[in-house]
Assembly symmetry: C2
Homo-oligomer: 257 residues x 2
């Protein structure tokens, strides 16, 4: 973040590499979408509205598809491409994107600011990206073309102290919020909205959902559609409790890359 001329700028940068973030047979239009969406999701978690993006682009025989997906996502969210760089390089392709946003509310929500006594909330339903990745048709868009929660982030910013997106899975990202804020987060498994009951545990560990995880004071309702899934307490034996059991982590909690 950067203070400038009375405004607070929020800056994010994400890189996606073939073999790590997408498969060699992926449609590069979807990769372009997701690269932009992942960065916009980081802005959403700060309640920021996007001002533009810069792209570091590795040229390839997929240029037309990538350009199509890029146009789709930038048009959808009304974000200008401000510039960037194209390179010729050997080996598996990779792409970097920087997104620049303007905070709509200060102080900007921060994962370090979860406070004992607050409730923990999440937008949306978890596990949809997992099902989409595994081939369940109705959820394929959730995996290939995730929707950053920009409107929700902006609506929440004046009300929440701690917010982050959960791109790497609910358990891992809850762990991170608890560590960053030096609290314990207590999750109630039955309260967490998931896409597939038979694989509840996987839904809590799989990433790529790009939902928002945030805190609100104990007696507050959420100004956006969201579910209360637990609460924040003073740091106990470990950062994360699930249904009263301490979880060990962070290595086996979710998706790490």
């Amino acid at each position: 973040m950067l203070e400038l001329g009375g405004e607070t700028l929020v800056l994010t940068m994400d890189t996606m590499a073939q073999g790590t973030h997408f498969r060699a047979d992926a449609d590069l239009a979807d990769v372009a979408w997701k690269l932009v969406a992942a960065n916009l999701s980081d802005l959403a978690a700060k309640g920021a509205e996007p001002l533009g993006v810069l792209l570091g682009y590795q040229l390839g025989d997929y240029d037309t598809r990538f350009a199509q997906g890029l146009r789709d996502v930038l048009d959808t969210y009304h974000v200008p491409l401000l510039g960037g760089d194209t390179v010729r390089a050997e080996g598996p392709c990779q792409f970097s994107l920087t997104a620049i946003g303007r905070a709509t509310h200060t102080p900007v929500p921060d994962r370090r600011n979860a406070r004992p006594g607050d409730n923990l909330w999440v937008t949306g339903v978890l596990g949809r990206a997992m099902l989409g990745f595994e081939g369940v048709g109705e959820h394929s868009a959730a995996f290939n073309r995730p929707c950053p929660r920009l409107a929700e982030g902006k609506a929440l910013a004046p009300h929440t102290c701690a917010m982050m997106d959960i791109s790497d899975g609910l358990l891992l990202d809850s762990w991170r919020m608890a560590v960053a804020s030096e609290t314990t987060i207590e999750l109630e498994s039955a309260a967490i909205p998931i896409a597939y009951e038979a694989r509840r545990d996987a839904c809590l560990r799989w990433g790529d959902d790009y939902e928002l995880l945030f805190t609100l004071p104990a007696n507050s309702c959420s100004p956006v559609t969201a579910t209360r899934i637990g609460k924040v307490s003073s740091r106990g034996k470990a950062p994360l409790l699930l249904d009263g059991s301490w979880l060990t982590g962070p290595d086996d909690l979710g998706y790490r890359h």
Copy 2:
């Protein structure tokens, strides 16, 4: 560029890939330096002062060296690392950097604004990076650790209309300025400061020098150490004249990637 809260932000993004921008046996400390320096040079050409950088970093067994070079260059130019992303990926490594700067003068100098009648100037001596690349010890720093002309760019911004850095060689970048401004640029070969007289032509085509190319009104002196190397005229038969001969381009004028 981006207007925000009464300020003008200048944003740049450059990617460097092994095999294209540096050799497999390069010292990654020098690669880190050059990646930052190339982006700061883009800011210099806009008369902007750097506010920070974001790094897209591919992890590898060179992490310690890269971190050292990064620290060197950020300390030298007093630029904070604001954030970024690390990735594990297969294949030749690549790195992306975004630099954010604040314009110190508006309108911001722009390569499109060369005007017939202006003189054309350049900072420094060309060909030093070429000699450094080829192993001439005294010039190795010019290739490995180029110095962005931040102070000069800031001093020039109130006086010049058209400015750019010449990372891809004087002839190619002069061609680009002439094309962007719909003028002809007339260069006087004997006036151009070069590092090695016996290879004058190569010095004009080799990139990586990161000097500033800029225009000034006909009767103005330069406020920084620089050399007058030609002038801008109305568009003639082609964009670029060298000692009265039209050059064809841009394919054979300099370094393209």
